[in-house]
């Protein structure tokens, strides 16, 4: 499958943290042609195993997405929402959403007071979770019959190609990186590799990397590669918090193994792949944090795809950076050797 087609379809699927079944099933099917075994774990991680006779490497990108849950149904039939992961409530007014009720998906609209009814004070404060609601266009009785508190609510799915290979979509975080893993798995079929590779599309990253935690325990890898998104340059961003959107980023800092980072940089350089460096003095806020301290410890690197407008329905990335990411990941994995074990802390 072409990467664009995979991305268009996989980003449209619902997969709010804790309710990732549909996204997991689709991703598992996509990996099957390129690996030896695919499994979906009880928590909805997808584990795709590409066998090798060398060190065991766990590569992960998370398949869950930020979203919402119905927290209450008001008397007028409007739904109140609770955030799952860090949703910015400022992006919601006027947005269409999908409510995944037991009987099927319902289209909803996040209400917003029209300008004609606004008071001056309203215009000066943002909507909050307390004032936002979803309108299902039904009577309160109909709403109560179909919807229950706890039902998952997703952003509407769009996939729009902008200029210069940029793409705006929901859930580029982090299914764009799942697409990178998939494309790397495909590329590895044309490369020789010793590494025994587990591509894991992890669940429950957005509330604390729990999928990476349990996958790391279950698979007991020698090395880890976490693949997530980072912030691309955006007006108003604090200094040193963003990277150029046009190429990948690797992180340096105590959570990441310096030898493996060096190997990654060498691979990029010798293959003409642009790789930016970002510095994480402490937590990386990705699966790398949990993965690197799983069991007795897993030396880990972090690769990131820069996106604009993270945690919105218009997350924007550069397709060229994504393609280069797949190339770098495949080439890096093809280089992993048993001998690295001796050099790891030298």
């Amino acid at each position: 499958m072409k990467t664009e087609d995979f991305l268009r379809e996989v980003t449209a699927l619902p997969g709010v943290t804790g309710n990732e079944g549909a996204a997991a099933a689709y991703i598992a099917d996509a990996f099957r042609p390129w690996v030896d075994e695919v499994e979906i774990t009880p928590l909805h991680c997808v584990v795709a195993h590409k066998k090798g006779d060398g060190p065991k490497v766990l590569v992960c990108a998370h398949l869950d997405e930020i979203g919402m849950m119905v927290s209450a149904i008001e008397e007028d039939g409007s739904l109140r929402l609770q955030s799952v992961g860090g949703v910015d409530p400022r992006v919601l007014p006027g947005m269409r959403v999908r409510v995944y009720a037991q009987g099927g998906m319902l289209l909803g609209v996040v209400g917003a007071t029209p300008p004609h009814l606004l008071k001056d004070a309203d215009r000066k404060s943002n909507y909050t979770w307390d004032t936002l609601y979803v309108d299902l266009g039904m009577s309160p009785e109909q709403v109560r019959e179909k919807v229950r508190p706890g039902d998952t609510v997703c952003f509407e799915a769009r996939y729009v190609e902008l200029k210069n290979g940029r793409v705006a979509t929901k859930t580029a975080d982090d299914r764009a990186c799942v697409a990178i893993m998939l494309a790397a798995a495909e590329r590895l079929n044309a490369l020789r590799h010793h590494a025994d590779i587990y591509f894991v599309a992890t669940c429950q990253e957005e509330i604390g990397s729990w999928g990476a935690l349990v996958s790391g325990f279950a698979l007991a890898p020698d090395y880890g590669v976490a693949f997530d998104v980072c912030h691309a340059d955006t007006p108003g961003a604090p200094a040193n918090s963003t990277s150029k959107i046009t190429s990948l980023v690797t992180s340096k800092g105590p959570y990441l193994n310096p030898f493996l980072v060096k190997k990654l940089e060498e691979t990029a350089k010798s293959n003409g792949i642009e790789l930016q460096v970002s510095v994480d003095p402490r937590s990386t806020a990705t699966d790398a944090d949990e993965l690197s301290v799983t069991r007795a410890g897993v030396p880990t690197v972090l690769l990131s795809l820069p996106i604009k407008y993270m945690h919105t329905n218009v997350e924007t990335f550069d397709m060229h950076a994504l393609t280069e990411g797949a190339r770098l990941l495949a080439l890096y994995l093809a280089q992993v050797e048993q001998s690295w074990e001796d050099e790891l802390w030298n």
Binding site: R90, P93, G111, P115, L117, G137, N164, T234, P235
Partner: protein, 334 residues
């Protein structure tokens, strides 16, 4: 013409060309005479069997939208609204820019990068921009020069219990029903005016009103509903599902009292769902008709519309039908 087709056409105030063209073509076979006037309004005239009365129905073709001002050095487009759009509803929305319909998004700083003050601050037009993926100012302005109009990239979708969600329901519902009115024949002479520039000051209607020469003008509108969520009861203007609204007054005009009573009585007599628009919010073309030349009697019939002036406004189709039925019943009265 389908309501969906009308809503998905793009036509902000001053840029109504696509809507005008579609309406002109649809109206031509339905009426005796159709013309475009000095303000770009489409005026469709249908001679009556007896010509005992001269009635005019009016709806506006334009919708709220945006217009490009300039671009930043790194290729982000700066813009303002055309008509009233609360900037709080445009963050993180998909848009189409300019004649080439260039795709873009209205982005904003990610939540992770916001300070505590950032989160409280309302993003106004000075701090919002449209990202089309351009890398430089020149590249951005090449396809989207200053003055380019911008639209919500927002489809028409049926949902819920007989509702639809779309941009531009205000006032394509009125245009839709005007075209339907032209399909019938009447004793009265009937003029249907599809007017421009309502959202920026009732400008098209002033021109149409000058030439109107009608005994009464009925304005077909979409009006703000505000019946859900936390809007106080006193400001809940009207409710979708309860029929067409009849206005006694708004911020631009006062309905002719006899006309207002006549329309409410007619709705009751014919069993057409109708409700009184309770609060005097907003204003519309009735203000222009009422005060041009020697003045003319007016009344406004509106479809209640939630989240008006945004990418996702909502109407109930039974209310659109009620607006048509009441306007038609009025036209058919002897």
């Amino acid at each position: 013409m389908e309501l969906k087709t009308l809503c998905e056409l793009n036509g902000a105030s001053g840029n109504e060309g696509a809507v005008r063209k579609a309406i002109l073509e649809a109206a031509r076979p339905l009426c005796d005479h159709v013309r475009i006037d000095r303000m770009g309004n489409v005026i469709a005239y249908k001679k009556g069997r007896t010509g005992n009365r001269r009635l005019m129905f009016s709806a506006h073709m334009d919708e709220v939208g945006f217009i490009i001002l300039d671009a930043t050095d790194d290729g982000l487009l700066q813009f303002r609204s055309v008509g009233g759009i609360d900037p709080r509803v445009i963050v993180s929305k998909y848009v189409l820019v300019g004649e080439k319909q260039v795709k873009g998004v209205i982005g904003a700083l990610a939540i992770h990068l916001q300070s505590a003050e950032d989160r409280k601050r309302v993003l106004g037009y000075d701090s919002l921009y449209i990202d089309i993926g351009a890398k430089t100012k020149d590249e951005a302005l090449a396809d989207c020069p200053p003055g380019s109009y911008v639209y919500f990239d927002s489809s028409y979708q049926p949902f819920g219990d007989g509702c639809v969600v779309s941009k531009a329901l205000d006032d394509r519902v009125g245009c839709y029903n005007l075209l339907r009115l032209l399909e019938n024949s009447y004793d009265a002479d009937v003029t249907c005016a599809f007017v421009t520039q309502e959202e920026v000051g009732l400008r098209g209607a002033h021109g149409a009103a000058f030439d109107a020469g009608a005994d009464a003008v009925i304005v077909l509108e979409g009006t703000t509903a505000g019946d859900m969520g936390d809007v106080e009861k006193v400001r809940r203007v009207c409710e979708p599902g309860k029929g067409v609204t009849v206005s006694f007054m708004d911020n631009a005009s006062i309905a002719n009292r006899e006309l207002y009573r006549e329309l409410l009585a007619l709705a009751e007599e014919k069993g057409i769902a109708a409700q009184v628009k309770r609060a005097s919010t907003g204003g519309n073309d009735a203000g222009a008709y009422q005060r041009t030349q020697q003045g003319v009697r007016t009344c406004v019939l509106s479809v209640p519309c939630r989240y008006i002036h945004g990418p996702s406004s909502v109407v109930k189709l039974s209310d659109v039908e009620a607006q048509y039925q009441l306007a038609r019943a009025f036209a058919e009265q002897a």
